[in-house]
């Protein structure tokens, strides 16, 4: 079943010194349960595309549907959880309070809120930090709290913009593993932006390679890796082969400059 469908998507920003075309003729279909990674050089429009899907940015051309609705309708029907590039926790709320925020807004009952906060905190390994304020946590912990916040209300679509950028390799590996498990268990559709080629290959069923200025999709690589992925799959020949293809795609984009 198609969840997200983009056809001939264009987006041009009007700025002081003229228009900036951020996306050009983007065509992409994402099916239910897909794990799609977006990879590409800085400024190529990954964030912009994700924001379009989330209805945070309005395309200037082409069509985009989410669950058959416009992205804006989908946003209003609370179809997705969004994890921003930086943690973006509200500093006046505790970690628990931050995770509770969407639940309050969506009108969950008090008990339900408490239950879900506890559950998602546990999921990201932050139990015991519920009462702490964001600045009392390390960057990586904050990032995990923000992931918990996006998971708490169980949206079908999860959009994640470089969620692990600030983390070291080991923590990143661990969270990658857990994200895969979650995805496997819940069957969510996930859109995931990353700079890291191994991360993209390890996680995705589909890797979208983008090239900059104006942002276009240069390659869509369907992963042949199995759903079940232990960490050491990264040493397999198949993995290295896919990673190589992604790297070539990326490099081609860079050469265009």
């Amino acid at each position: 079943m198609t969840v997200i469908q983009a056809q001939g998507l264009d987006l041009t920003f009007q700025t002081n010194d003229g228009p900036v075309q951020a996306l050009r003729d983007v065509n992409l279909t994402i099916d239910k349960g897909d794990f799609v990674s977006f990879i590409g050089p800085s400024g190529c429009g990954k964030t912009t595309f994700l924001r379009c899907i989330a209805g945070l940015e309005t395309p200037t051309g082409g069509t985009l549907t989410v669950n058959g609705m416009t992205p804006d309708e989908a946003r209003k029907s609370r179809a997705y959880g969004y994890v921003f590039q930086a943690a973006g926790l509200y500093p006046w709320r505790t970690i628990g309070g931050n995770i509770r925020l969407p639940l309050e807004i969506m009108g969950f009952s008090k008990e339900e809120q408490a239950k879900r906060v506890a559950k998602t905190l546990d999921l990201v390994d932050l139990s015991g930090f519920e009462k702490k304020f964001p600045w009392q946590l390390s960057g990586g912990m904050q990032q995990r709290a923000s992931i918990a916040r996006a998971l708490s209300f169980d949206a079908d679509i999860l959009l994640m913009d470089e969620p692990f950028g600030a983390l070291d390799e080991i923590v990143r590996d661990k969270l990658n593993e857990e994200l895969l498990k979650l995805w496997d268990r819940t069957g969510k559709t996930i859109g995931f932006v990353t700079h890291s080629i191994p991360e993209a290959v390890y996680l995705s069923t589909k890797i979208v390679v983008m090239s900059p200025r104006p942002g276009r999709i240069t390659d869509v690589i369907e992963s042949t890796l199995p759903r079940e992925r232990p960490l050491d799959i990264r040493d397999s020949a198949e993995f290295i082969e896919i990673a190589h293809r992604v790297r070539e795609g990326l490099r081609a984009g860079h050469l265009d400059d």
Partner: protein, 280 residues
């Protein structure tokens, strides 16, 4: 001779402070309290020495000791004036002015057209000097504290408005987008995001407004008042050459103003503990 005395006292007071400030305990609450107090005491001592040493007339500058005597012997008068000017005039004006400024700010923030139209005009209006507006407001609202409150409202309204508007806008795109991804309503965004984010700015406005409120209420009394109030007493006492009374009122004003400021600053600490400027 007097000058030498002054220099000795100054050197002693300042030296003591330098010692405390450089010592290990400089960050303790006691040190933070002691240093300004020592500074103040030093200044008072120098003042006393100068007045006595140069035999300055009491109708020009009374000695601190004389001011203290007046302060302690006329507490009933001072209290009456304080009630009239501070509790009735300044405080009610402060509350009305700040509250209406916040409401206005929310409206202005909601409608960009208003923000672009009202803020420049507001800045212009805020530049109207109170010494010009006070007589007009006294004419409009009568001689009692109502007109003083009106002057205070006019004085605190724009600083508060400008700060609150700035605060309401001080949310990052990401913080706002987060609310949008939840499909949050305007009211939800206002109460869960904008107002909390605006608090540090609002407290800036509230703190500025504390000093403005007291000054406004006092000055307005110069342009007509009943026969009590701090401004009334100050101006009348100058005419009567009772400078000790003038300074006693000033002391009351400074204490009241500082306590008011301190109170707001304490509330600020409690409510905006999360802001980087409050952490350290």
């Amino acid at each position: 001779m007097t000058l030498i005395f002054v220099l000795i006292v100054w050197a002693a007071g300042w030296g003591l402070n330098v010692m405390i400030a450089r010592s290990k305990g400089a960050n303790t609450a006691a040190a933070r309290f002691a240093v300004p107090v020592i500074f103040g005491v030093t200044v008072l001592a120098i003042w006393e020495i100068l007045v006595r040493g140069y035999d300055i007339s009491a109708v020009i500058l009374p000695a601190p000791s004389a001011i203290w005597t007046t302060l302690t012997s006329t507490t009933d008068v001072l209290w009456g004036d304080f009630v009239q000017t501070f509790l009735k005039g300044a405080l009610s004006g402060y509350i009305i002015g700040c509250a209406s400024a916040v409401i206005m700010a929310v409206i202005v923030d909601r409608y960009d057209f208003l923000r672009r139209g009202l803020l420049p005009v507001g800045n212009f209006v805020a530049a109207l000097p109170i010494v010009g507006t006070a007589p007009i407001l006294v004419m409009w609202f009568g001689f009692d504290w109502h007109s003083k409150a009106a002057v205070v409202v006019v004085m605190v309204f724009f600083p508060m408005l400008v700060n609150t508007v700035a605060g309401l806008r001080d949310t990052s795109v990401m913080q706002r987008d987060l609310m949008r991804t939840y499909g949050a309503s305007y009211m939800q965004t206002l109460f869960k995001l904008r107002l909390p984010a605006a608090l540090p700015f609002m407290f800036n406005g509230l703190k500025i407004a504390t000093t403005l409120a007291l000054i406004g209420a006092i000055v307005a009394e110069f342009f007509g008042s009943p026969v009590r109030g701090m401004g009334f007493r100050i101006s009348t006492s100058v005419g009567q050459l009772a400078l000790d009374m003038v300074w006693a009122e000033i002391v009351v004003a400074a204490i009241a103003g500082s306590l008011f400021y301190g109170l707001i600053a304490t509330v600020e600490k409690g409510l905006t503990f999360w802001h980087p400027s409050q952490r350290k």
